[in-house]
Amino acid sequence: MILEAKHISFRYGKETRQILNDFSLKLSQEERLGLIAPSGFGKTTFCKILAGYEKPDVGEILLDGRPVSDYKGYCPVQMIWQHPEQVVNPRLRMREVLAEGDHLEQRVLDGLGIEPDWMNRYPAELSGGEMQRFCIARALGERTRFILADEISTMLDLITQSQIWSFLVDEVERKGIGLLAVSHSMPLLKQVCTRVRDLEEELRG
């Protein structure tokens, strides 16, 4: 499969600043693409558009040539967010949070170091690193074809960051999932990606 963003422009509301301006990007299932972008470029917004949470003002998102919005049911493009605590329902136990995913394999939970005992906890009883493991597991459902990782390890300590990325890289390789990794750290992207696009340089010309 190919995930393609064509000439995307976007702004929140009429009076606000233009965020994305005629941005295009292409990603295959075999690659892991790293993205470094200048401040205010709209990295998170771009991920939200790719995953179908926002509609672009101009341009389209195609999955194998068909608009992503044509795919009904489970979205093959899944996003992992920077702040896990903001994307889990605080009133659900972690077991129920995981049930929002698509046929998750026990192997994935084990690989991410999710301990059985954590399943009965509420989000507030987990650390950020522990919660992010759940969010990654939830995104790695059976029908996921692309993962968008938006600064997923910025809030984590270095060891957790390395643990989580090492698993995620193995997993997307094994399942043939395409990965888009957004980060401000070039050393990190060089470690995890097959290709890096530095928009700060591209825009400078």
């Binding site: 401040s39 650390s127 950020g128 690193g129 060891i159 960051q161 990325w165 050393p187």
Partner: protein
């Protein structure tokens, strides 16, 4: 970043600080949650010290402990000295906001019913205060109109810059910055860090509380490595250039996990407060874990720094 800190005056000295919360567990049963067990850190004048620990390790409580703004069900242990004297509640009340300032972690610390300008000026209306605030805001690319807004009207990044401005208003002796930069762009992070650095260079002590070791290494003089409620090592930033100069196995594991140092990791996770192991909190993840590690482990001097490990050499 010069050393020679031994000749400088100690501003803040924290010894074996502990913070525990009493909570209702099941029904009316009460349980004590020891979030911080043994926190040690010293800040000299003109020095920037970073307390580095992962999210959920309890490091924000350190800031709140120093200022005396912990919630009512928290219990403090250990010793806190400010300028050589015990930091009592009375002194905390007198010093905070004047000599000791906090750059808080979240905008929830702002008064939602007070406009930004008057709030940051603390109600001062004189020309000097106004001018100073204008200048600070200019430095952070905050328009003058922002002063007329309420906290809820600002974006995340703007709010963050407003919080940092609060510390720049006075002439503090001790600045405590609790995760001052998440959500800011790299350029702004650098600028904020430079300002803290300048305050230290002018003689204030700066205590930077962060999860970001790389950032700490860029600006701080010393780093206190914090793991699961305990300070495990106190090291000069220079000690982080090589793995061998670090003292504690956790600090070394952190070093190896840096993307530029190999991106290697160890298994396991930082223990949750309720299942804290006895003795060394890092024990279950350490190669050299043995029975002795389950007892009390002294915080001892080693090669110009400090370490809480029986085996470090």
């Amino acid at each position: 970043m010069e050393s020679g800190k031994n000749t400088r005056k100690v501003i803040l000295d924290i010894e074996n600080l502990s913070v525990s919360f009493s909570q209702y567990d099941k029904g009316f049963a009460k349980a004590d949650l020891d979030v911080i067990r043994d926190l040690n850190v010293t800040v000299h004048e003109g020095e920037m010290v970073a307390v580095v620990g992962s999210s959920g390790s309890g490091k924000s409580l350190l800031a709140h402990g120093i200022l005396g703004i912990l919630p009512y069900n928290a219990r403090l242990g250990g010793r806190m000295l400010y300028e050589g004297e015990e930091l009592t509640r009375k002194r905390q009340e007198a010093l905070r906001g004047n000599e000791i300032v906090l750059v808080p972690q979240s905008v929830a610390f702002l008064d939602p019913l007070m406009k930004i300008g008057p709030q940051i000026r603390k109600g001062k209306k004189d020309a000097a205060a106004r001018e100073k605030l204008d200048r600070i805001f200019e430095g952070y690319h905050l328009k003058k109109e922002v002063q007329e807004l309420y906290p809820f009207e600002l974006s995340g990044g703007m709010n963050r810059r407003v919080l940092v401005s609060t510390a720049m208003m006075g002439n503090p002796r001790l600045v405590i910055a609790d995760e001052p930069t998440p959500g800011l762009h790299m350029k702004m992070v650098r600028r904020v860090m430079e300002h803290f650095r300048e305050m230290a260079d002018r003689g204030a002590g700066v205590l930077l509380i962060t999860h970001d070791l790389e950032q700490a290494l860029e600006v701080a003089d010393r780093v206190a490595v914090f793991y699961a409620g305990t300070t495990v090592e106190d090291a000069d930033v220079k000690d982080f250039i090589k793995e061998e100069t670090l003292r504690h196995p956790y600090s070394r594991a952190l070093w190896r996990a840096l993307p530029q140092n190999g991106f290697r990791f160890i298994g396991g996770t930082q223990p949750y407060v309720k299942d804290m192991p006895k003795g060394c909190p890092f024990g279950p993840r350490c190669d050299r874990y043995c029975e002795a590690c389950q007892g009390e482990i002294p915080y001892r001097k080693l090669r110009g720094g400090k370490v809480r490990c029986l085996y470090a050499q």
